[in-house]
Subunit: 506 residues, 2 copies
Amino acid sequence: MPMNTIEAKPTEVETSGADTNGLREETLDPRDWEAFRGAAHRMLDRMIEFQRTARDQAAWRAVSPELERRYGEGAPQAGEGLERVLEDFETLVLPYPTGLHHPRWWGWAGGTGTATGMLSEMLAAGLNSIPGNFNDGAARVEQQLMQWMKWAMGFPAESGGIVLSGGSVANLVGLAVARDEVTGVDVREGGVAASAERLVLYASSEVHSSVFKSARLLGLGREAVRVIGVDEAYRMRVGELASRIEADRRAGLRPFAVVGTAGTINTGTIDDLDGLADVASRHGLWFHVDGAFGAMAMLSPETRALVSGLSRADSLAFDFHKWMYVNYEAGCVLIRDAAAQRRTFSGSADYLKPLERGTGSWPDIAGGRGPQLSRGFKALKVWMMLKEHGFEKFGRLVAQNVRQARFLAHLVDTSPILERMAPVQLNVVAFRATQAGADPERLDAVNRELLMRLQERGIAIPSGTLLSGRFVLRACICNHRSVRADFIAFVEAAERLAQELLSEKP
Amino acid sequence: MPMNTIEAKPTEVETSGADTNGLREETLDPRDWEAFRGAAHRMLDRMIEFQRTARDQAAWRAVSPELERRYGEGAPQAGEGLERVLEDFETLVLPYPTGLHHPRWWGWAGGTGTATGMLSEMLAAGLNSIPGNFNDGAARVEQQLMQWMKWAMGFPAESGGIVLSGGSVANLVGLAVARDEVTGVDVREGGVAASAERLVLYASSEVHSSVFKSARLLGLGREAVRVIGVDEAYRMRVGELASRIEADRRAGLRPFAVVGTAGTINTGTIDDLDGLADVASRHGLWFHVDGAFGAMAMLSPETRALVSGLSRADSLAFDFHKWMYVNYEAGCVLIRDAAAQRRTFSGSADYLKPLERGTGSWPDIAGGRGPQLSRGFKALKVWMMLKEHGFEKFGRLVAQNVRQARFLAHLVDTSPILERMAPVQLNVVAFRATQAGADPERLDAVNRELLMRLQERGIAIPSGTLLSGRFVLRACICNHRSVRADFIAFVEAAERLAQELLSEKP
């Protein structure tokens, strides 16, 4: 039936592959599938070797200056074909990985990744499934994974949960739901301005930077994060928290959430989660736990007691790509009140209304449970790794990394030139090179240089931070490839380099 | 040097693979790399075949009820090994894809994915690189890709840009920076409450649901989105926008942004972007464009004029995984004022301070330019696909899909039983089955049933929406595998099924 329209009419009906207005129909599919197959198998072998030989590689390598020009090349107009692209991958990308796959990556809080994770990502991308919005296998796999994670974290089966990009967004989601639920006004419709009182939340001075970022994104402002001091083990002072909440209330502010940390980035410290849960409960506040890596202490009977109270959280953020060793990226947030999660995120777009049957018949769509609408099938790699190895093995690996941290601490403690800078509570060891009577500024400079040389020489990748204003090195061990010999080799090299640096003229 | 500590001391120094406190050191690496290699190559072949034979597959298939129990199995305690996991993948996942890979997927606004994209994801996961925070190849690849996209979208080379999960978060980021920049108060520190006047933004009634979601997340509230009416082609009425802004100003509100849409989800409509840019500029408002799929009209000389004004945006959101056919997930936001982007997102965590050399010596870290800190290497697949095929081919494919939409519209227009429900401006065709004198409610029911049967029988995957309150089917063509014969087969099947439904007793 005709309708007035602005478009040109095609002149005739044609069949597959035929001319369209004088142009042959094109596709991004390989012209020659056998050639593609050959190239793909070759690259698969290349990457399996990359993983298998990780220990033989330099932990880090600087991009050669001659190559920098290549990364500056302008937008490709005509295609150069797959073979040339793969050559460029081997020249420009493969020799310069971040280094997370390496047995001596202990920087920041990054996980190793696995060969199975690599395979899973190939499968997920080949399927090109978007889990959670459609009636398909991917939605069910993600749902099953969420049930497993609720079980592992001691959350009720009816809690809400979603796979997302990582801890930063998981914190954002938890705090968004907190903000919308606890304030007693309709923030969802009226915004933060609907609250007559200024909304504030509480976290320790060691809290992850994404909590400040979340406060800014959520329209609360950075000042809304009330920073509570820490004790000598870098744990939030529970008494100070309680009195600060009371003082803020008296001052006419509206406290709504307490953020506890399971595994601070600097020292791997676990807050007194039970103590924080008690305070939050007593004051009617939302209890959010940032367990980016530390939540995985739940997986081992050896470490579970350290995160006692974690299961009392109203929302829990954690990463799969840190201490579950999953290839980047994949994180998760669990929300005890699944309906609250939907209230914050669900919309009412006509084109998203579920039907009774067919592709669009998945009832509880993921777009109504988090910031994204479409999401890649990140759940598959976690699901496959968990099924392959089982939760118990992940627990043993977590315990193994904790034992390795203690071993590294022991090596530092018995070193004539290294000193430890914080207690080891979990999997983080903070230390530095030292010298009796050395100027503090000079020690900072020496340790910065030590860190850079350890990386530049490809020995290992710890990272740096400040503790009490002093520069320290830290190793955060979320690595299933590390063995004791790696720590021994690392400490020997660090001692040697530190000795060199300390004997140089300042 | 010793320090008081709570941990146990290891008793002796051991070598690689040796006992650790009586437990052998474990890893997630394959015990037998050759067995892994065999399994991986087999699965690679399986997925290449899955892609190559996409047209022979049902477009959708319901999960068999016997399998549902399997998806409900509890958390695996012991591992079942890779072979069993791969069997489960073949039973539970592979037969039930979302369907985006299929030549007759035209649902919602999903892109096809490619074989090269699949290969790239394997490479990215194997590397396990996190682009943008470290001095590595991945950071440079992403930076290069951003330069290409700024060029393609007509943005200045010094603009900011970041690869992120997709359009929803890209809209969130654009509007976050808008909120923080335009209001004249320090929202970043003091929150939305720092503005004495209520902050409001403007979008059409056809705007994507993520704009409402963003307004809620940003603490502005859903009511902050002032909804402007559309004309008969579903374009925002520019005159109404201007007068609404003026009225709101008079009423003491604080307008800060106009959101234009390039490619509405229901009808593929492109707002009068030049007209909106003029109004935004005249009133000193931020101009954000949601170009989730429609921004790709920039890639072809045949369609570029349709999005005239897009390059004037202060921020532009678009997806790679829609009309650039990239495997899920990958989107992008470009921000004209790169410093403003950093002001909204950068923090000051001690452990993130760049050093001069080594792994941590990348200056402009991605964590300071978007909501995530760590991100997977999504840029690689886009970079590889663009290098393989070149921008010109992507332009030809966009134009091809537009021609296919016109062809489909022609088939509908010449059908005795189908009618078109909106003009075709880009790549979206809205239509329904009709019958002279039929009751509107009955027509809605017939068309819902028609949509479900088309999917259930595996014929094709259009999706449904409401236009002027009536249920319609829509095809949004972001598919590099579709050929004319697919549309002919689809329309024939739709006519047959519609005839059956309309001749059934109501």
